[in-house]
């Protein structure tokens, strides 16, 4: 993300906005300003059209029957895997498993890998910066099979304590599961370094890339991680789509996650054998239309260029930090320097975050308020609740200015 080297946006954000029909709507009579992109992103026409086109022209179940529609659906569905694989630098599309979302991807690793491979007193190392989806499955394993769960600390500036992380990796550590980019602070963690450190100790690495894949160039081969989880709906794809990347030999060695149709090779009354990758992990009829539309989202992001997206969102972030930082009554969390995504969590002194978000909503501005599914992190930073703005490529500096004006209004009204 060479932001400094890039002094001109490689695309025209105003032109690009035309691809997103929802951005034309009004909320409470005001043009929608959508700044809740860390929760889910809006969808371009290309994605909506792909969904529509699938149902209008190809709809049939996959991997079954020889009729033409089924054949076409199967090809398109497989092609979506290939697109995602290419987008994240996976050497083999068969190592990309489609899921419903990042949460399901992480659960897949917890159930299909960790359950069978970890035993009492083995350690899983996560960080205080995790989304609940990368905390709760490991707590479940701790309670069921007695693994230990350790947390890497986070500094006030929003940085992972990397020295502490080194110290916490021991010969008992079997998995390091770490968020690539924080959905609360925007911190981008050095996952390649973390992977190297974990591998030296013989531990596997799961990267929660729910926030990074949509906004930054991400290459699983370069990172070297064993697993990577992400959500399609946070990268312009439909809701109900997500994926897990896993090293092929690992996925081969694992037991399935869910059992039933499509994931089998052969079933007799006594036993079954498993289908090849990735189908072994995709039991039952998947969200075929959603997957194909996710493929269209990946095409859109590829054409845009992840570097260009990151550079532009970096400009938006700098602009927002500049506009917010002049006010001593706005407290911004964890922007202590270093690389950040376009995500800002903050509080307005004397005003409950809900009221801030409420006033913004009246102005047509969508932001999130609450604990952002990261309660341990929020507690560590001394903010139980906060307002969060998160940007994407279709946002503009003017929209950020509108949000800042609305924040001032909230302060005037409630402060």
């Amino acid at each position: 993300m060479e932001r400094a080297a890039q002094n001109k946006t490689a695309f025209d954000p105003l032109k690009l906005r035309e691809d997103f029909p929802i951005l034309r709507r009004k909320v409470h009579g005001k043009p929608l300003v959508y700044l809740d992109n860390a929760a889910t992103t809006q969808k371009p026409n290309a994605v909506i059209d792909a969904l529509r086109n699938y149902y209008e022209t190809h709809n049939a179940n996959i991997h079954r029957g020889v009729h033409t529609l089924s054949y076409e659906s199967t090809l398109l569905y497989e092609e979506a895997h290939e697109k995602v694989a290419r987008f994240i630098g996976a050497p083999d599309w068969r190592s990309v498993v489609f899921t419903r979302n990042a949460t399901e991807s992480i659960n897949l690793v917890a159930y299909a890998w960790a359950f069978g491979n970890l035993k009492k007193d083995d350690e899983v190392l996560i960080t205080l910066m995790e989304h609940h989806s990368n905390i709760v499955p490991w707590q479940m394993l701790r309670d069921r099979i007695g693994i230990r769960l350790n947390y890497v600390r986070v500094g006030r500036g929003g940085e992972l304590d990397l020295e502490g992380l080194q110290g916490l990796i021991t010969e008992r550590t079997k998995l390091v599961s770490v968020v690539h980019a924080s959905n609360v602070l925007g911190t981008i963690n050095p996952v390649k370094r973390i992977t190297d450190a974990a591998h030296k100790a013989g531990a596997l690495v799961l990267v929660d890339a729910a926030q990074s894949v949509p906004h930054l160039p991400v290459d699983v081969t370069d990172i070297g991680c064993d697993f990577l989880a992400a959500s399609g709906h946070k990268m312009m794809g439909p809701t109900g789509t997500g994926f897990l990347y896993g090293k092929a030999e690992l996925l081969e060695s694992m037991e399935p996650f869910l059992y039933g149709g499509d994931m089998i090779e052969k079933v007799t009354m006594e036993r079954s054998t498993w289908n090849e990758l990735p189908w072994k992990f995709e039991a039952g009829t998947p969200d075929i239309g959603g997957a194909i539309a996710l493929g269209a989202a990946v095409d859109y992001l590829t054409a845009l260029g992840p570097e260009n997206a990151a550079a532009y969102e970096g400009e938006l972030l700098d602009h927002a930090l500049d506009r917010l930082s002049g006010h001593e009554w706005i407290k911004i969390y964890g922007h202590g320097g270093g690389e950040r995504l376009g995500v800002i969590s903050f509080n307005v002194e004397g005003v409950h975050p809900h009221d801030v978000a409420g006033v913004l909503d009246e102005e047509g501005i969508a932001v999130r308020s609450g604990h952002h599914c990261a309660q341990p992190l929020m507690a560590a930073l001394g903010m139980d609740y906060a307002v969060r703005m998160s940007f994407y490529v279709y946002n503009t500096k003017e929209e950020i200015d509108l949000a800042v004006e609305a924040i001032k209004k909230a302060k005037r009204l409630f402060g």
Partner: protein, 124 residues
Amino acid sequence: MEPDQYEYILDHYKNPRNYGKIEGADASYEEGIPSCGDVVRIDVKLNDRVIEDLKYSGTGCAISQASVSILTESVMGKSVGEILSMKDEDMLSALGKPISPVRFKCALLGVKVLKKALLAKSAA
């Protein structure tokens, strides 16, 4: 939305009525909205199934806290039956300002807690 429309809510938010706790209350209940951190507790003193005294405590956004303050002023002397038959609209229309549906949950937390307190009492 004009600023002055918030006046009534802000008045109750900043100068809460009937704030506190009742020692030896006949009915008490506390509930929160975990996703946003609003919490309301209500203590009620009853006299022959009529509300004789009521106090609330809690933390949270202006809408949730002002709504319960406004509620406490209107329910003194009312019967349990009257409270239990209160409709959501009764509460929403008492706020002096149209509330966006996204905030209904906050605005209705107080009535919900009061009803639960009274129901728990009736069940006991």
